[in-house]
């Protein structure tokens, strides 16, 4: 297995799927000639040409909708948002059209499309560029939503998303793009959507997280082990919808204490639903109330001093974990 970055893993997934299926195209702002704003699509234009790797104007509504229309006709477009925050100007195309056309047509029209791009804070770009809309997307029946946290997942789940016959929102993370990890090289390496991963095993406390919060959770688990002799299990959700409820309940039943960590804002965040599911399905297995660490509930702050505190960081997660123990 080769050690590659999250960015390279995505690039490999795109390359393999574009090679595999002539219906797959990548489109978005700066994906071709500029090689991608975050260089995820580096080398693809050279390899596949401008009919498969397509630069668009800054018109999210038009190119998202164009891709939905093309998907209705049987193509498999991969739409890159430079930031998921920019999907807000294409909301109608994603949330009305991509998500609902199948239902409104009584199942006659499929929309095999991937919307992808980074959805994270922590990079000092202020409120308009730091949204984490996985909760909006997962709140919309018809859409699938995944948040890969490792290079291997980035590759395996992106490939699964492109092969999926339903619309899939892939929420990446600019801070993870340089993260290195081992990634299988086989061409049929696929990680199915809806399958969580135990990132580290433990017995005293479960931290359930998705996206970059998984990495924060792992650091906290290490601290708790070293300084407090507490054994933490970290469950990486990987996929928000579909959701691996079984894995969630398994870890809760194992440790009986659970801390939910996400970069989403707290109100109606992903973890609000997960907390409900845990109390509904595993109430008798809880030794303490379910607790959460989310982003602090204000628009994303620009200043490093504020933003570093705003998103779930090591110290905030550690403090909450200690409250639970």
């Amino acid at each position: 297995m080769a050690e590659i970055t999250y960015r390279e893993a995505l690039n490999q997934a795109l390359t393999e799927e574009i090679l595999r299926d002539p219906n797959v195209v990548l489109m978005g702002e700066e994906v071709a000639q500029f090689k991608g704003s975050y260089k995820v699509s580096e080398g693809l234009l050279e390899q596949f040409g401008p009919k498969r790797i397509i630069d668009t104007p800054i018109s999210e509504a038009a190119f998202s909708g164009l891709a939905v229309g093309a998907a209705m006709m049987g193509m498999r477009p991969v739409v890159e948002f430079m930031f998921w925050s920019f999907c807000y100007v294409a909301f109608d195309q994603i949330f009305n059209n991509a998500a609902s056309v199948r239902y409104m047509s009584g199942g006659l029209v499929n929309v095999p499309i991937v919307f992808r791009g980074p959805a994270n804070g922590g990079t000092n770009v202020g409120a308009t560029h730091s949204h984490t809309p996985e909760n909006f997307a997962a709140n919309t029946p018809g859409l699938k939503v995944i948040c890969p946290a490792t290079p291997a997942d980035a590759k395996g789940m992106m490939k699964a998303a492109i092969r999926d016959n339903d619309p899939v929102c892939v929420m990446e993370n600019t801070i993870l793009y340089n993260l290195k990890g081992e990634v299988p090289e086989e061409e049929d390496f696929i990680i199915p959507l809806g399958k969580a991963r135990v990132a580290c095993e433990g017995k005293d406390l479960s931290i359930i997280a998705h996206g970059r919060s998984v990495q924060v959770a792992l650091q906290v688990a290490e601290t708790l082990q070293e300084k407090h002799n507490v054994s933490v299990e970290v469950l990486d959700l990987r996929s928000i919808r579909p959701l691996d409820l079984e894995a969630i309940l398994e870890t809760v039943k194992k440790t009986n204490r659970v801390l939910l960590v996400e970069e989403n804002k707290p109100f109606c965040g992903v973890d609000a639903q997960i907390a409900y599911l845990i109390q509904h399905h595993a109430f008798d297995h809880l030794d303490a109330p379910v607790m959460r660490v989310s982003a602090i509930d204000v628009p994303q702050a620009y200043s490093k001093a504020l933003e570093n505190f705003q998103i779930p960081n090591h110290d905030r997660v550690l403090a909450k974990a200690l409250e639970l123990l």
């Binding site: 939905v68 093309a70 006709m73 109608d92 409104m104 009584g106 199942g107 199915p192 959507l193 399958k195």
Partner: protein
Amino acid sequence: MESIYHDADINEDNASNMASSPAKVPSTVEPSTDFSILPVNQSLEAEEKIKFFSQMIRIRRFEERSLRAYQQGHIGGFLHLYIGQEAVAVGCVSVMSQDDHVITAYRDHGHAIAVGMNMDECMAELLGKKTGCSKGKGGSMHFFAPDKNFWGGHGIVGGQTPLGLGIAFALKTKGTQGACLCFMGDGATNQGPFYESLNLASLWNLPVIYVIENNGYSMGTSESRHSAGEPLARRGEAFDVDWSVHQGHDLYEVRSAISVALSRARESSRPSVLEIVTYRYRGHSVADPDQTYRSKEEIEEYKQSKDPINLFRDKLLEEGVLTEDKINSIDLSAKDEAEASLEFALASPFPEVSELMDDVYWETDNPEEKSSEGTIFFESSR
């Protein structure tokens, strides 16, 4: 009858020349233009003309029957009727080839019947029945028939304009010599995605034809109160998209306009914006009050002087294609068909609650090919 074209000559022989030319300054066609003598219309067999007449009548009788069904409480929600605009859908669809596609907004019953959907599945959809074209899950605004190249039926004003672009993109990518007719209302010309779409259509040379069915009102707001810079189609000029304005009460004029745009799309893969001036006799939706923004007299005047079905009937009588007897029998048959569609819809079952969760995800409807795991519905009806 006033018609404005940016191309002075609408003779089809010039279509290929027009296709490559950039937008030009509009000029006015002589009011006396007789569109029946243009090749696209002159070549029509009597049978075809009768078919177009019959389709317009069928749409009107369907709409009238659905209106009564609404008033009788059989249909809920919105019902956006197409009465008055019939020549637009029928004229446009009549010049399409099997590789051409249609997408439209929420006033979609006319287009649906024009592309060949049957009244039963349409009426059943209005009643929310299982036998409806969308199994009762789409309703009045969301008719679909992909097997007839009909891609909906879309409820958000202007929201279908990028989708039409995508259909054209797919046709071009797959090397099909077809075009997409994307219908929209005058109100939709004030939505941003339309302009983003026009830019891409021109930039990427996509075979999409935006047909603005200008019925004069964006819901209850007249064109003079909702739009600056008329005619609306002229907005295409900013993107070097060929545009023209036509009268929608003359089926022959609609056919000639669309056939020019279709040639442009097929031969040089260029988009068009066609504004077709028309009129709706009913409210925006049937429950909306009509008298707050227009007078009864205005509606009456249009009905008297420009009703597309009456005008075409008179032409066909004049041409000797139809007789009064034949007209009556076509009309009677359309009324019977509409009545029968309501009977069919009333007799059809509602969808079962157990079907509520079907048709959301391809994957849950095809469990044998399912690749994902986990929970996808969080409150189940089952």
